[in-house]
């Protein structure tokens, strides 16, 4: 369990550094450290599918963020009413911790699932789909609807990006 705690602490530190730094490039690199920590965490939890996807998406988003933000320096923001924001954040964090403590206590123990559907997938995935990789069997066969929805989300986001940054048809 120790390595999980170390990695999670490093990720939290990376996130705080990314927020506090003034330089955009350093901030983006600190964000990359958070992503690499998440990849390591997936590997330690034996989820290589997620680790591969997280790693390549992290590289892609790092490239896009560097290409889009390098040389851009945001003007320093002036926050008014800092005490109000601070109080709101403290209240939110306390409420979140209390509720998550109670909710996570009711979950089954780590690595001991009792879900009926999950055990059915694990038992019958190979026989029903013929796919040796059970993750592919679940996301593309048992849960095809979900994947279709994800594809729709990606399509919508591409359309959104292209609509915002396009040149043609923009009124000056």
């Amino acid at each position: 369990m120790l390595e999980h705690h170390v990695i999670i602490l490093l990720m939290i530190a990376g996130a705080i550094v990314a927020m506090e730094l003034e330089d955009m490039l350093s901030s983006v690199i600190a964000l990359g450290a958070v992503g690499i920590g998440l990849t390591l965490e997936f590997l330690l939890l034996r989820a290589p599918d997620l680790a591969i996807t997280q790693l390549v998406v992290e590289i892609l988003s790092l490239i896009i963020l560097i290409r889009a933000t390098v040389g851009v320096k945001l003007p320093p923001e002036k926050v008014k009413g800092r005490i109000g924001y601070f109080l709101f954040a403290v209240v939110f964090v306390v409420a979140f911790l209390v509720f998550s403590y109670r909710a996570l206590g009711a979950l089954p123990a780590f690595g001991a699932p009792v879900m009926k559907m999950g055990s059915l997938y694990v038992k019958e995935a190979l026989a029903r789909t013929g796919a040796a990789n059970i993750v592919s069997a679940i996301i593309l066969d048992f849960r095809g609807y979900d994947t279709l929805g994800e594809a729709t989300i990606l399509f919508t986001s591409v359309i959104g990006v292209l609509a915002i940054v396009r040149k043609v048809g923009r009124k000056q």
Partner: protein, 154 residues
Amino acid sequence: MRQESGMTLIVKRITRITVSLIFLFGIYIVLHGHLTPGGGFAGGVIIALSFIHLVLAFGKKVALKRISEATISAFESIGGVFFWSIALGGLLFSGVYFLNFLPKGEAFSLFSAGTIVFCNIAIFLKVGAGLFAIFVALAFLRMPDDPKEGGKAA
């Protein structure tokens, strides 16, 4: 000889070697998605990264000559329609939406798992083209009223 666009000669030379390897690795990840970790999404991102590699090394004009924006858009649409038609095929051939209607084949061989292979290929087309389109849009299409002066003043 002066470089007209892109990075230095060293980067261009190495890019010529590595791009095809990255591309092949992406294809491998996609086609073995039902056997080993990976699949359409990860493979699509790797393919998109290989094209991004090309764009970063050679500059926008040279790279987009090989694969134009219309091609990207066509691939994205083909991927989406392909995935949806697989789902409709389940409805058509066996009466249940998204049913795996193809023969399952022998487990652990490359040609197995019925429609999952084709779903992987469809998602790969969609994700690869979509993410590359997002990269091209965010990195090169600058807005006319880009707040450049804010960067200079600060």
